[in-house]
Structure formats: C-alpha cells, structure tokens
Amino acid sequence: MSAQTLYDKLWQSHVVRSETDGTALLYIDRHLVHEVTSPQAFEGLRLHNRPLWRTGSILATADHNVPTRPVKEIADPVSRLQVTTLDQNCAANGITEFAMGDPRQGIVHVIGPEQGATLPGMTVVCGDSHTSTHGAFAALAMGIGTSEVEHVMATQCLISKKAKAMLVRVEGDLRPSVTAKDVALAVIGHIGTAGGTGYAIEFAGSAIRSLSMEGRMTLCNMAIEAGARNGMVAADETTFAYLKGRPYAPRDTEWQAALAVWNTLHSDVGAVFDREVEIDAAGIEPLVTWGTSPEMVASVSGRVPDPAQEADPVRRQGIEKALAYMGLQANTPITDIRIDKVFIGSCTNSRIEDLRAAADVVRGRRIAGNIKLALVVPGSGLVKSQAEREGLHQVFLDAGFEWRNPGCSMCLGMNDDRLSPGERCASTSNRNFEGRQGAGGRTHLVSPQMAAAAALAGHFVDIRSL
C-alpha cells in the first residue's frame, strides 16, 4: 500500500459507502451537542418521527448561553428556553448531558477531551465550527450545521467529500513566551483566513510534537480560522498520557489494544500532501491581531499596518475598513494600544495550562486602573476546581480579575458577558470579527500570557521584556 497521510487513514476507516462522484457516507463515532445548534435538529427528527440512531455516541452540554456568575437560573427568558430545550431533548432521548450545575459542565470542546470522549481514530462532529479542536487527538473532527446535526442523529453518518490535504510543518524550538496560540495566529497570518479552505490541515514538526495536548488543542481549534474544517496532529506518547484514566477512555486490555491502533495514526514517511507549508518555530513572536479577521495579525513589537502601503485595492479597502472599525491609526506601535477589558477563556484558551500560564504572569500584581473588567472564565467545571485546588483563583482575584463559572462567555457574548460599543478587549478567544464580543466591540486576539500582561499594564506589552 502506498504511503498515506493521517487524513487518508482517518477518512478511509470511516467510509460506509462512496458514490461515483466522490461523495461518501462517513460513519461518525462521537457527536457533541450544545444548546444553540441542536433544537431545530431535534425538532426535525420529531416532525419526521425519526429515532436517534445511537444515543450513546452523543455527549451534550450547555455552554454558549450559560451565565458565568453564580445564578439559580438564567435571567434572559430566550436564553433560558434554549438551555431548557436542550435539557428536555436530552432527557426525552436518553442522551448524556452535563447540564448547568453539573460539576462536569463546560465548553463542549473542553469537556470532550477532558472526559476522554474524544479518542484517537474517531470521527467527531458538533454543530460548532471549533470542533476542529478535537483533531489534536489524531481524530477527524469537524464542525457541521444544524441540518447535518439532524442527519448524524438520524443516520450516524455525514455526507461528505474528501478534502485536499495540507501539511503545516513547524520545525525548531518555540522561543520563551511564545505559545501554541502564537503558532496558530502565525499560521493564519501566513496562509490567510481562506488559505485552508477545502483542505484538512495536519500540523507536524518538532515544535508541534513538543506541544502539550492543551497546546495542540489551541492550535487545531483555530484551523477553522484559516478556513480548514479539520486540523489534526498525529497521536504520540503525549496523546496517550493525556487520555489514560479518563472516564470514557479504554482500560486494561482494551487500552493495550487501543494503543496498537493509535500508534498507526500518523502520516507515513513519503505520504504526499496537496500543499506543504514550512514555518520556522524560532521566527514566531508573541502576536496580536489588529483588525477584524484573524489573518490581520502583527508581532507585539510591530505596528498597525498602513493601508497606503498595500498595492492590492481589495486588500487596501479591507485594511481601511478594519482600522476604521477598530478605531486605530496606521503605524501605531502595537504596545501603544490601550485596552478596556480582558477576557481569558473560550474553547481556544481556557484549559488548566492556559490558566496556569496567565496566573504566572499575574501573581502578586494588580490590573491597571484603566481596565474596566478582567475576566477569567475556566473552560469547564473540572478545570475550575483544578485551578482552585492550585490556588490560581486567588492569584487572579488578588490582582483584580473576576473568577467566573465555565462557559463560552465573552468569546461571543451570547450570555451577558459582552463588550459595549467602542470597548477594546485583549482576548484569548478565536475571532476578532466585527461585533463578535458585543456590538461595536473591538477584539484583539492574543495568548493567555499576553492577555494577562495587558491587563496589568493597561496596554499590550511584549511579554519577552517582563
């Protein structure tokens, strides 16, 4: 057999049948469900009197709408209805749900891996574009729309067509203070926000192998911001060590059998990719987005770009629109950008390692006087309790941060954690689109360390100089 990519292996092992035009029915092992993109799917099944194919494949949680302050119930009746609708749909169908109040509740892309419900070799889907996160476990993981959620619930399959394969190889050692988030932003800055459209991206190279599972999840999470529906990393000892002993993970003799399969989940030597991109790890600096697309990114030691220097008229217009929305002048040093709010959280950066890294920057210091709100929102109830056992909450509280309950929170502000018009935020989330964190809000995407440092200084700072 010829050399295969990891993507080839994952794809092939899930094809139930293929049509002559290349369309395939792909078997789905794990279906993660949250409250926003599922109600219409459950309703569709009811209307057609269709049963769920395999409820055991589903793990559900409420994350987008949940308040991060301790409350008995959600104040907003529209949000509350969406969350209770999920509770009812799960109860009626016998689906495992980590509902509000469950100590395991949290962001769907944090709890799947945390439970070991995401395993190497799986296909994982969820009605959420950041499902690419789970590819960190050598899984074929992709975001789907609500009609596809319904389709997977009814048939355990997805109708899909194979994408092209892209290899992003990051070789060398990351410099101190440079994180997986910076690698993700560097990749998006390099290939562009549509650079991965039509591709499945495998991240490889020594810098990727050196990343923890949390780091790999951060990286694969943002594959979608480069346009790729899937991001993935080969399975290795780091993957296995993370999974061992988790509630859904295999045990004993099954663990050994699983390892035999998982050890094959890498691209073969000589496997051919449709596109290969090389990035020098040592050349990556701490990055900050300055615009309204994740590809609009600059080194913290750099400046806001000048549209006058851009030759392409469509791109120039894009920069001008972004700067107008962001309220930024061309050529402003990034470190001169003052901020109003700080958000440490989201499916990109809310895991224990992210909180530890931010706490290390913050420890013993205070947030700046111009910071109106600095939020730390752990990714799950289990992350939160782990952080509290380590005393991290006290570090944040002593510095003037708020320590909240888990959820998607200010990444998209479907609950009441939002930016007000014109407010500027250093955010560890994944999207800096217009209005993403609140109508008129201005988002700068950064790593947890960079967000923490910006909270202390009141503006962006080069954490390498601390």
Partner: protein, 216 residues
Amino acid sequence: MKKFQVVDGLVAPLDRSNVDTDAIIPKQFLKSIQRAGFGPNLFDAWRYLDQGEPGQDPASRRPNPDFVLNQPRYAGASILLARENFGCGSSREHAPWALEDFGFRAVLAPSFADIFHNNCFKNGMLPITLPEAVIDSLFSRVDATSGYRLQVDLAAQEVRTPDGEVHGFAIDPFRKYCMLEGLDDIGLTLRHADDIRAFEAARQAAQPWLFHGARP
C-alpha cells in the same frame, strides 16, 4: 426543502471580502429555537443604526441608509453578489436561514467558506462559485444598471446575463439532484441503513472502546 430549478432575480451587491457568519446573523438571534424568522435580522449590525435584540418589531428599527440592502433599487433582490471567502467563521446554519428568509435564493462569489457552503445546500440556497474576473464584471454591471437581473439555471448549471452571456458553474451531482428535487437527504441516507448497521457492527467488534460510555 424548497426545490431550486430556475431563479430569475434582481441582484444585490455586497462588496466586501471575508463576510463572516457573525455579520450575516449576529449571535443574539441564535437564541431562537425555530428555523424561520431570521430575515429581519440578516446583516443586522450593518443594516440598522440601532442595536438589534431578539423580539423587536422590525418596523421600529432605524435602517442604515448607507447599507446596500436598504437602497430601494435592491428591494426584492433574490440573488446576492459577494466577494471571496463569503460565509467564513461560525458553523451557524442560521446564516443561510436568514438569507433565505430575507428572500435570497442564490449567492454568487469567487469563493465560499466550507461549512457555510455546505449548509446552503441543505436549505435550497444555491452558492455559485464563479471566477474572480466574472464576479468583478458583474459588480460593475450591477452598479451601472438599475434593476440588473440574472438568471440562474441549476439544471443547465448556468448563470445567464441579460445581454446573453452565459457562465457555467460546477456542482456535485448529488447536491444538484437534491436541490432540483427538493429532497431530504436523511431519507436518502436511510435507504443505506443496512450498510450503516453492518459497518457499525464491524467497527464495534474491532474497536469496542469507541462505543463505551463514561465509567466511574
């Protein structure tokens, strides 16, 4: 799903690249548990001067006169002309639902984001990829000609201009078939239920750990 055969419609231009699904339908409207009713909030932040919240009476809103869809010449448009990477970002199917609810049946662009592209086909909304030069020329003509219309013929896989130009486009045969007939693909997939069951049984026998629930 609504059938798509031939759509002859007024064209509205949205001249910016990387239009994301947060812009198409902002997050506060995703709290609905319905599939319909998103049209009044399509492009909400660009379309209105006041802040949009669920449950508002559309008649009470302050339209932004500078936003293209508020210009009287584009009233009733059913074809949206757009730029590269249309529909990037979130997987929310509320984006095609909002476009469809507003009255669009087709979007023409040089490129689309994958998940949005996929979601369109489930909702009788045809995303058509045309070369950048063709899109550029259509933008000029829409701008120059009030009431500019195009004819989209799915069976023939053609976009036809009023002056007789014909631009072919590609589409997967399966998607085309479903769109033309207005077919529900779940019903089609369930015809292969025996194949799925056989695949599943073999997979469970080989890798039983993929089928476990949580254990204490």
